[in-house]
């Protein structure tokens, strides 16, 4: 996935991936976000995630560390956080130059629903999506419904045993360190 260099709007560290998705929607961003997970234990997997937006609504997702796109890229991107996030604006023509990538497309609400775990933000995002993306003209299914027929982001996350082991190891280390800090034996 080749993304033209955009105009940097924001660069910050966030605990949750929800915030940049909400900012993109609020600003009707046309451009992209680069998510770089900061978790040292998980950096072996390496890489960063890119989500493109048109008028605030996510269109494509790609994760460099695994070279996977679409819902699977959202699963790859799911880390305990924090993330370093950069938001970039692109001209419409530049966004169009990325082209059509079937393997990279995500339904409008999926990042908010499955990555950020925020059904309200997912609903707002779906409402902001153009009708063509909300409802398939041929069979009446929504993008999100169609995505459920394929392995979704949650299923891909649960299939990644290595990452889940890393999350558990990190939590145990944190729990033990804090037990000392807080005076639990």
């Amino acid at each position: 996935m080749n993304v033209p260099e955009g105009t940097l709007l924001k660069s910050r560290v966030v605990e949750r991936p929800r915030d940049p998705l909400a900012v993109a929607l609020d600003r009707s961003l046309t451009g992209y976000a680069v998510f770089e997970p900061q978790e040292a234990l998980l950096l072996d997997a390496g890489g960063c995630g890119i989500i493109t937006f048109r008028d605030g609504v996510p269109e494509l997702a790609y994760y460099t560390g695994t070279d996977r796109g679409g819902p699977r890229a959202l699963a790859d991107l799911a880390m305990p956080g924090p993330y370093h996030v950069e938001l970039y604006r692109l001209a419409r023509a530049e966004l169009a130059s990325i082209g059509e990538h079937d393997g990279l497309a995500i339904p409008p609400g999926m990042a908010a629903e499955r990555l950020a775990g925020d059904p309200a933000l997912a609903s707002s995002t779906r409402r902001a999506a153009p009708a063509a993306r909300r409802t398939d003209a041929t069979d009446g299914e929504t993008d999100d419904e169609r995505a459920d027929a394929e392995p979704g982001a949650v299923e891909a996350f649960l299939a990644d045993e290595e990452k889940i082991d890393a999350i558990k190891t990190q939590a145990r280390t944190e729990a033990q360190r804090r037990a000392e800090e807080w005076g639990f034996e």
Binding site: M79, E113, L115, A116, G117, A153, I164, K168, W182
Partner: protein
């Protein structure tokens, strides 16, 4: 004869308080149940249980040496211990006193349910998980909720607290929940207690200030919570032994 459960999720918005009261009401058909709002920074059980006007809450017990009995209320066939919402009270509260409060409550009940904080970021938030015998993990089929649920389990087991099971809450029809629940169980020590459908009934109950099982007892989510409660096998233990356990719990006396 008591077992203490922390109802925990690691993430806000999963419906922990609704779940705590629903499980409490379902378990009260066979056991003496006490539910405690141990989410001291974001207390809301009093709104769910129609107790928003009461004078004495857990905060008063933890800040002003009010007796525990003054903060217990018999409602919906349970003993309910709500917590106040004043941030000043929260700042003044000594969370380590919770250990003694739990020990006292444990002496008079079969089942203690501790509604826990939505985060694992402070000692008072983690304390209910430390004090409980087992955690009931409330989660939704989303990546952040699963990730936080894994953290709850690892914190619990690090502190010798077991896992009673997983409660998938606010589940939508299109969530492919059976497949997700099966895959999720591989990573947890407990199995799925129930999958509770997302429902307007739970929101209506909250607005009415009544627990879901009192407000809409035959609704689909109420049925699911009853099923979850039936799958929790409460372990019989000597109440004195349990009270001793809390008194000698690994919590220091000063913050």
């Amino acid at each position: 004869m008591v077992e203490a459960f922390a109802v925990a999720s690691g993430k806000g918005g999963t419906g922990k308080t609704t779940s705590t009261l629903a499980l409490g009401m379902a378990l009260s058909e066979e056991h003496d149940v006490t539910v405690v709002d141990a989410d001291m920074g974001m207390a809301n059980m009093l709104f769910h249980a129609g107790l928003s006007d009461v004078e004495t809450t857990l905060h008063d017990v933890l800040t002003a040496d009010a007796p525990v009995a003054a903060a217990t209320y018999d409602r919906f066939d349970m003993t309910v211990v709500p917590c106040g919402t004043s941030l000043d009270d929260f700042r003044d509260a000594d969370p380590t006193r919770l250990r003694e409060v739990v020990a006292q409550l444990a002496a008079d009940t079969d089942v203690l349910l501790l509604d826990s904080a939505a985060a694992l970021d402070s000692r008072s938030a983690v304390l209910p998980i430390v004090l409980a015998d087992r955690v009931i993990v409330v989660l939704q089929p989303t990546i952040p909720a699963l990730s936080d649920a894994l953290k709850v389990q690892e914190y619990a087991t690090s502190y010798d607290t077991g896992v009673a099971g997983l409660l998938f809450n606010k589940v939508h029809d299109d969530d492919a929940i059976d497949e997700i629940a099966t895959k999720t169980e591989q990573y947890f020590d407990g199995s799925t207690l129930s999958t509770v459908p997302d429902s307007e009934a739970a929101r209506e109950a909250r607005r009415a200030g009544r627990p879901l099982l009192a407000h809409a007892p035959s609704s689909p989510p109420a049925e699911s919570f009853r099923q979850a409660a039936a799958r929790i096998d409460v372990r019989n233990r000597g109440s004195e032994a349990v009270a001793d356990r809390f008194r000698s719990a690994v919590v220091p006396d000063s913050p």
